[in-house]
Amino acid sequence: MAVSVETLPTLESDESVRARRQQRTIGLAIFAALSVGALVAAHDVPDWMDSGIQKWAQDRYKWSVVNRQSSKIFTWVFNPIADVLTWAVENTESLLLALRWPGVVALVGVIGWRTGGMRAAIAGAVALFGVGVIADWDLAMRTLAIMIVAVVIALLIGIPLGILTSRSDRVERVVRVLLDTAQVMPIFVYFSPATLFFGIQFPPAVVVTVIYALPPAVRLTNLGLRQVPVVVNEVGESFGATTLQQLFKVQLPMARRTILLGLNQVIMMAFAVVVLASLLGTGDLGREVLAALQKLEVGKAFAAGLGIVLMAVALDRISTGEKSKRHSRLATKLPTVSSRTAAMIAVAVPVLTVVVARLFDASVFPTSLHYDLATVIDDAVQWVQDNLRKGVPVIGGTQAISDFITMHLLDPLRDFLLWLPWLLVIVLAALAGWLSKGWRLSVTIALCLGLIATMGYDNKTLLWDRAMDTLSQVLVAIFISIAIALPLGMWAGRSDRVERALRPFLDGAQVLPQFVYLLPVVFLFSIGRAAGVVACVIYAVPPCIRLTSLGMREVPFAPREAAISFGATGRQEMRNVQLPLARKAILLGINQTMMMVLATVIIAALIGAGGLGLLAYRATAKAQIDFGLGTAGGLSIVLLAIMLDRLTQAWGTRSDNDRGA
């Protein structure tokens, strides 16, 4: 598809070319006029632009603090919800503990076997067993209980919402904006309201987790249903199926694969917030990570973090639900079993395991199986700190890199953004939007930036200035990420060996809670914005490498072969055939990179990055005083994210639209 579009010569009449040129000239003239206007206007955002949103949010917060025992919305809505959530998590937890660890492992194995075959069974069971080996099993079960409840709720809300959005474009648009906003909003902004509404411990933790886990459930259900071919729907209709029959007998089963992919994403998103949610008093594995970091015990934090990762992997393997491995070598060696026997095994194995485990009272994960990962990691971190921070030949060590990033990348860019009159920033960004896609995008961008200007002050500093600080960090982080990820991704896309070598690093860096490597980053790069940028890069590089490599691999073989048969060298073929054809996937990778950077730049406030992230953190840390300010900071991040997202997405779709028009 893309091949023909990209390679066919475009035929345009002289007239349309002329019209287009004329439009372009007019557009440029308008932007030039606007720029002049921006230069003449005030350099800083004027006072009257302050929308008072900070005070509004702070007042809402205060009202909730005062009325949380008496107001009907609490006694009739929030409190019952909180009770149900507490009940659900506590019972799930006692159930998991009652199954004893061998029972849980066996159960995961059996579920994996039924959904994904022998490989999934083994992978799931081994991963879960590993949780017990490196982390505290009982705490892990509490985390698992919270995750199970949150994932179930996310599906209960997400799938119906997905069905709804698949029926109406308008609903879809509204829901998508809401979900995007909810997901990009820094988690710190949710904590204080969540505790006021739902109390402490499990209920607010589940609620916050659901907020982040919901979007993929909605998005992929919607996508799956929309992908059901029209013909299939018509066949159902002609056989007289009702709408509901259609939905449950035809559409949902056909969308099953995509929805399952959604489940998988839901689980991943849920696990991403475990660590921070422990601030609310969940007392689970996430708290182990935070408590260890608070005492600079990186090894301990890493072990607990890896426990969380392994649990996510276990659930991932058994929820993927792809039985494609049926014809693999492993499967053919195993004797095939009839479905009746399979069912018997599926019931018998966990039951027997639980019985045996309880007979031998295996309530505690055996300490003899415990592996002390913490010391190993601590030694490694110490070595890295001793040897890489200073005195490395040529580059001078990480400290020098850190100083370079601050002084030669971050400072100039931030100072430049602050030096520009604020309106000029908006005009220039809008111009970029117009050049990328057109007027609509240009207006969206101007609107996003314009709204940031209405967010008011932090003490005496404009939130606009904080936003420019954060924007400079985001841009530098994206730039460095792409500079690292693109070459690696291209290399991995052309060599299986490189791909294999990179994979464990990619998987690990992406699933490991960001907190675990925040401290090592500070060890190496010292506190400040540069450390924040490095943390962003670590988190953002993996998806970019992965998508670039994937894009390169998905290029059809025919055009590449054609190029080679015409005598192109490997390098020429890559540059002139493979790369252009993989462009879309690569641009998608850049979009993902940016979202990852934005997610991390907030948490980077904990290691000295300042900016909007620090404001958002204050919504949690000093809610009584700064909740309004933190909310305004969080909203500014959302606006920055929407702007950058739409812009990078436009690059990915531009060529098609231009030529289709």
Binding site: R114, G281, S402, L519, T620
Partner: protein, 329 residues
């Protein structure tokens, strides 16, 4: 299609049977926290532990004493400082035994004086003090930096410069949730320093280690008591003593503060319902006091000897009956 569904159903059946089996005759973990001894009864008392050792010391000592003598099970909730106020407010948390007043003036006003859902249980004992600190090697090399006036010299201040602070010296602040007048103090005393927020206590502690390892000067907000004080040599920089004008400026929050930090008298707080829920526990927690020395002794069992807070508290409670018996009188 059907086969997939049937298998799914069977798997679910298996799960259910297994769980039913597990649930029946289940007894071991209904009371979390693993209450001490079989004498505990009545509703559990929940104590908050905020993320530092001192907070755990108080709570686990109280737990040991309550469970052994007052017959109520105690549940510990590890939770963020700010979230614990919400728990105190609605009664999910019965008491928090270590609150630093300077950081929670607004909470005190809202919950204790305002809503009256939380009550002040009196002083814990230790006096805490926030201040400006530098590692000792800095003072050894430049004795004049022992007081704030030394920092007026731009050349000396520049010793503390980093890439973040440029030509000025860097003043490092840790967790933004802690109380801070540092920006005001710097500005009102006219010091050539730039205020930089490290973002978390952990990041600040890392900065201390790096400063000492590299012998690169560091100026920061730090406090006593803190476990790090026992491990590294830190010296407090003398700030101007507190004047009536400073106190007035603090009350007015006019941004003109230019003095040292006031002493923090750590206090305890409980949910207002605790007195009715368990009067004996309420009385005991009101009487509970630990000295700074006692707190750091128990703390050293945890941080130094690697004991669990539970075991550390029991060890101390067993060795010092006369101290806690006074709380029960």
């Amino acid at each position: 299609m059907t086969s997939i569904r049937r298998k799914g159903r069977l798997a679910i059946a298996g799960v259910l049977i297994a769980s039913a089996l597990a649930a029946c005759g289940d007894d071991s973990k209904s009371s979390n926290g693993g209450g001490g001894g079989g004498t505990t009864s009545g509703p559990a008392i929940t104590l908050a532990v905020n993320p530092w050792t001192g907070s755990a010391v108080n709570a686990y000592v109280a737990k040991a004493v309550i469970e052994a003598n007052l017959g109520a099970p105690v549940e510990i909730i590890d939770i963020d400082e700010n979230a614990s106020w919400v728990g105190l407010d609605d009664g999910t948390i019965d008491a928090n035994l270590e609150i630093w007043p300077s950081g929670h003036a607004a909470d005190y006003e809202t919950y204790i004086t305002g809503k009256k859902t939380v009550v002040d249980l009196g002083k814990l004992g230790p006096q805490a003090k926030i201040g400006w600190y530098v590692p000792k090697f800095v003072i050894d090399a430049h004795p004049e930096l022992a007081t704030w006036e030394g920092f007026k010299d731009p050349e000396l201040a520049k010793l503390f410069a980093t890439a973040e602070s440029g030509d000025l010296g860097q003043f490092t602040m840790g967790d933004p949730s802690y109380v801070t007048y540092d920006e005001q103090i710097i500005q009102n005393l006219g010091l050539p320093l730039k205020y930089v927020v490290a973002g978390s206590e952990a990041a600040l502690l890392t900065a201390i280690d790096q400063s000492i390892a590299d012998q690169k000067p560091l100026l920061m907000q730090f406090w006593k008591p803190h476990w790090k004080q026992a491990k590294v040599d830190l010296v407090e920089v003398a700030l101007p003593p507190i004047t009536p004008e400073c106190e007035a400026s603090l009350a007015a929050a006019d941004g003109k503060y230019a003095c040292d930090y006031p002493v923090d008298e750590l206090y305890k707080a409980a949910n207002a319902g605790l007195a009715a829920k368990n009067p004996a526990v309420f009385k005991m927690l009101s009487a509970l006091q630990l000295t700074t020395d006692q707190q750091s002794e128990i703390g050293s069992y945890i941080d130094g000897d690697g004991m669990t807070p539970d075991a550390a508290a029991k060890k101390w409670v067993d060795a010092n009956p006369d101290v806690w018996k006074a709380w029960l009188a």
